[in-house]
Symmetry: C2
């Protein structure tokens, strides 16, 4: 079973990722340590006691589809209603519409725990919150008045309808149509696929946000507009009216997150669905980008949440399962496998990757929060750059680690890991989508290299690397023997990151785009591992002396990560700067012959 | 669909892994190039046309269990009978019992293709062949006469019954009992789990090989004996008699290989199953070890087979799927994603890992074959050492790569990779068991470090490394610019392997067993990547000039592997020699508090 790691979450928020900085800010003056602690404790309780037990139930049941209707797993609807009654849906939403206005950091921490409880459950509200953000920033007051409060409370859920069969990563190819009705509304038609919680029985209404093209709209992404298409029309008094012309045509049979219905949605099969424009015509993509950063972070947090749960389960199994005799073990009989050196290595790798994922996600949330409260244009620019830089890292590293940690969890279980009843395999199946949706991790690496390195004329990344070096210097200066080779490994990784960053910038400056793209994936991992190593070390440095066990644990985690995984940075850097020639010379058509 | 890569398989057998050496040997004088080609072609045809189309059918259907009976997927039984009618079951078995006596290399190549067709199908006969080997080497003439011919032909299938709930990796804890009946037979009782094809409807009889303990047997593995327990008794005239006291109590619900029934077998619930001793009392483990090497190689080949199929599928998808615009692309519209640099990187990684897996498996098969035909004690010792050294590598590297390649295949498919209908996810699910069974890959690394490095006083591994260096020298001497940095990368990897091997030997010599074990997993990967890089380069060197496209392709493969993956060897080596301190200081009990 899942136990919410409240202490480690609170410590990471405050001492590693800057929540204290935020608490000092006027906009969050009410956010004392007691309130933070109360929120985390109650969220953790709900995740562990209410959500977690339904995770495997939902996996087995799935979301059967029949005659346009989707049945969610047993207990799912009741769980959702207890969850929204707790006020959890509006944690970071605007208080004007019933939200609690808390920092993204806090909602990120809660979201980690919901995802540990069940990723298939947590993803539904994540989509609703995306819809809330888009409406808050871009919708008319009329639409806001009609929809926002019920989406913030969770009485209704929201969806995002982007993907079409021919338009996935590339929205240029989008074909769904919107034709003005002349009364301010639009007639929407087209098919959308992979729509998470597109249809279900959990709420009375579902609010679809749909990307579509107006007649004569420019080609490409500059001709895409965003529309609100409710499942049921909403009368002026707030009551529900007739069914809009939108229906679910089927659900996907997926590798994992079986509790989350992934729907094919058909709009306008019977004359046209009625939609309302959000933002300006042909500016739909800008509206989408509003929520893209938070959505990418939310997916990173899915990787984190599943990693934490998989780690806890593997640790419990490794402490319980006895096989063989560990070297140096005293006493009689077999040892718990956790005592075998190779399993210790695996447990440390799982734990350190999970904590790295956490720290990167929270650091990204912190940057988003700081960009909201910053008072000067300079500060806003800095924190907006920082959020931009950290977003691809916070999406890709935790999701890659989520799969890696879940797979290690299966391995620790041995044959029992391959049998579905233990649940170890479910974590692997569930986590596997997170490296794909909301922009594949390959696309994250392209975003990092092509859009984020150039921020502030390339100076933002340089400043970021300097900040990393300060922590490495601090580790070196601490002279604590328990750190082992941590400072050296960090310095080496940071130097490599600096060298390869210069190479990337030079490649782009010289117009060698293909060369830069060929190394984008290892570059992202190099940056993520280096940042991760630094954040683990920062946790060890900031542990203080009041809890000696926690301090020792964090130091060991930082050290073991530095002395195993950080070596990978050197390999990754060498790869980036030397492999473009061979990679680009591949003629893929020739392989098929 | 799957296309058998006959040319690459034949080339790897002959020019990379030493089939030519074997063909020159008297024992295989009949094995001309034409025969090799005919066997591979027909095996490939069968795998592609007959087995491959049933792979997803079997995945969806599974093996339902009811009242002790297991129903195999539709078409499975007929497929099996066509397969044994082709004589494929006895490919490398003794001609005295109807086998074809071909080298293990040939059966390995065929097995690769069966596994590409369907791993769930191919695993059944693999177990039968294990039973054949154990009987051939250790059974009485009477047992051989009664069982061997029908197992070699495939008319009956065989199983291996080792695992019990408390005894998986550690057979010391085995509890199944065998009590002498006084007439030369034994009364067997106990429960076995994870028994592959333990019960099914494909053959009239099933021959179970069962590990059990005699009364008063010594504790531990020195008190284990091996028994033959037929499902149906066999009369002296070869006809089938009554049902033995053995039944299937259930099948597992697994992550993958759904077409392969994984059974819980109960022996002796109704008074005792009758069994016949194989080999000597209390020497059952030695009998098991007879087939262990081949079984481990066979599992490595599963990883290889799935990797090849996943690669082919991903390549086809990447050439077909159009999204975005690749840099430098001419013409209008979107590019096939195979033209994007990041996807080129992925395709090369998939292809090179698959070819490395192939070459390592075939090299291991070659060593086994050479140990069979060697004429001097010295040669026998050398090739037996070599087979021993390569076996953990041939089990672990191809199975790790199988999962990695299948996972990359899912990623290339994007959202479609997560939807079961494309089949990309099935490869990931199927391949995931191969790193676990037949000794987890962690256990393979321990075997490599603790049992294989010390072979011939530690000199065998030194000679092996010298052989690797000769190929690297040859690459350097070739002066072919298309090799890029291949020679340098190979030399660096080999040097690191040499350094770390010395460290491992020294650790063991000094009694630092825990330290050696803490680094065993990265050591195995270091050795495997280095060997893999060398074998790819050898393929490029031996390509000759008659097929310029193939030669260019192999050189690019060797080069891209050297310039991306071989850097990892430096990271792995540093990890092995510096991380034991932090890993061993972990107190896993403290983590749970």
């Amino acid at each position: 079973m899942y136990r919410a790691p409240i202490d480690e979450i609170a410590f990471t928020l405050k001492n590693v990722c800057g929540l204290e900085e935020l608490q000092k800010h006027e906009a969050h003056s009410e956010l004392g340590d007691d309130l933070v602690s109360a929120i985390l404790t109650e969220a953790g309780r709900f995740a562990a006691e209410e959500i977690a037990p339904l995770n495997s139930v939902a996996d087995k049941h799935g979301t059967p589809f029949s005659n346009g209707a989707v049945t969610t797993p047993p207990g799912w609807k009741e769980l959702y209603h207890r969850w929204i009654e707790g006020g959890w849906n509006g944690l970071s939403a605007n208080p004007d519409f019933g939200g609690q206005g808390l920092p993204v950091m806090l909602s990120a921490a809660a979201l980690e725990m919901w995802n540990s409880g069940s990723m298939a459950f947590a993803i539904g509200p994540t989509l609703t919150i995306g819809a809330v953000e888009a409406l808050e920033k871009h919708a008319t007051d009329e639409l806001k008045a009609k929809y926002l409060e019920k989406l913030v409370s969770g009485e209704w859920m929201g969806t995002m309808n982007l993907t079409e069969p021919q338009a996935g990563s590339d929205l240029n190819a989008l074909k769904a149509k919107a034709i003005p009705n002349g009364d301010g509304t639009y007639r929407i038609s087209g098919q959308k696929i992979f729509i998470t919680y597109g249809e279900h029985d959990m709420t009375d209404n579902i609010v679809h946000l749909v990307l579509a093209r107006l007649p004569d709209a420019p080609a490409g992404t500059r001709g895409i507009s965003l529309f609100l298409v409710p499942k049921l029309f909403v009368n002026d008094d707030g009551t529900l009216g007739e069914h809009n012309d939108v229906r679910c045509a089927g659900v996907e049979h997926k590798l994992g997150i079986h509790g989350s219905p992934t729907c094919t949605m058909v709009f306008g099969d019977d004359g046209g669905a009625t939609g309302w424009l959000i933002g300006e015509e042909n500016r739909g993509l800008a509206c989408m980008f509003t929520m893209m950063n938070n959505a990418r972070l939310a997916v990173g947090i899915q990787g984190l949440g599943v990693a934490e749960r998989a780690y806890q389960q593997a640790l419990a199994y490794a402490l319980d399962r006895k096989q063989g005799r560990a070297p140096g073990e005293k006493g009689e009989g077999m040892s718990a496998i956790a005592h075998h050196p190779d399993i210790k290595r695996t447990l440390l790798a799982m734990r350190s990757r999970t904590q790295v994922a956490r720290a990167i996600c929270y650091a990204c949330a912190h940057a988003i929060d700081m960009s909201h409260v910053a008072e000067t244009a300079e500060d806003r620019k800095f924190w907006s750059d920082r959020a931009g830089l950290l977003t691809p890292l916070a999406k890709a590293i935790p999701t890659d680690f989520g799969v890696e940690v879940a797979s290690m969890g299966v391995q620790i279980h041995g044959g029992m890991g391959y049998v579905e009843e233990t649940g170890a395999a479910q974590h692997l199946r569930d986590s596997r989508i997170a490296t794909i949706y909301e922009g594949t991790n390959g696309i994250q690496s392209i975003d990092l290299v092509m859009r984020k390195l150039p921020l502030s004329n390339g100076e933002h990344i340089d400043g970021f690397i300097s900040e990393l070096r300060q922590i490495a210097d601090e580790v070196a200066a601490s002279n604590r023997p328990e750190f082992g080779a941590t400072a050296d490994r960090l310095h080496a990784a940071i130097e490599e990151l600096e060298r390869v960053t210069s190479w990337m910038k030079a490649a782009q400056a010289e117009g060698c785009v293909a060369e830069a793209l060929a190394g984008a994936t290892p570059y992202l991992r190099l940056a993520g591992l280096t940042l991760g190593g630094v954040l683990l070390a920062k946790g060890a440095l900031r542990s203080g002396t009041e809890n000696a066990a926690a301090s020792k644990d964090r130091t060991l985690l930082a050290r073991s990560f530095a002395e195993t995984s950080l070596y990978e940075t050197i390999a990754l850097g060498a790869d980036v700067t030397s492999s473009a020639g061979s990679i680009l010379s591949l003629d893929p058509e020739a392989l098929a012959s």
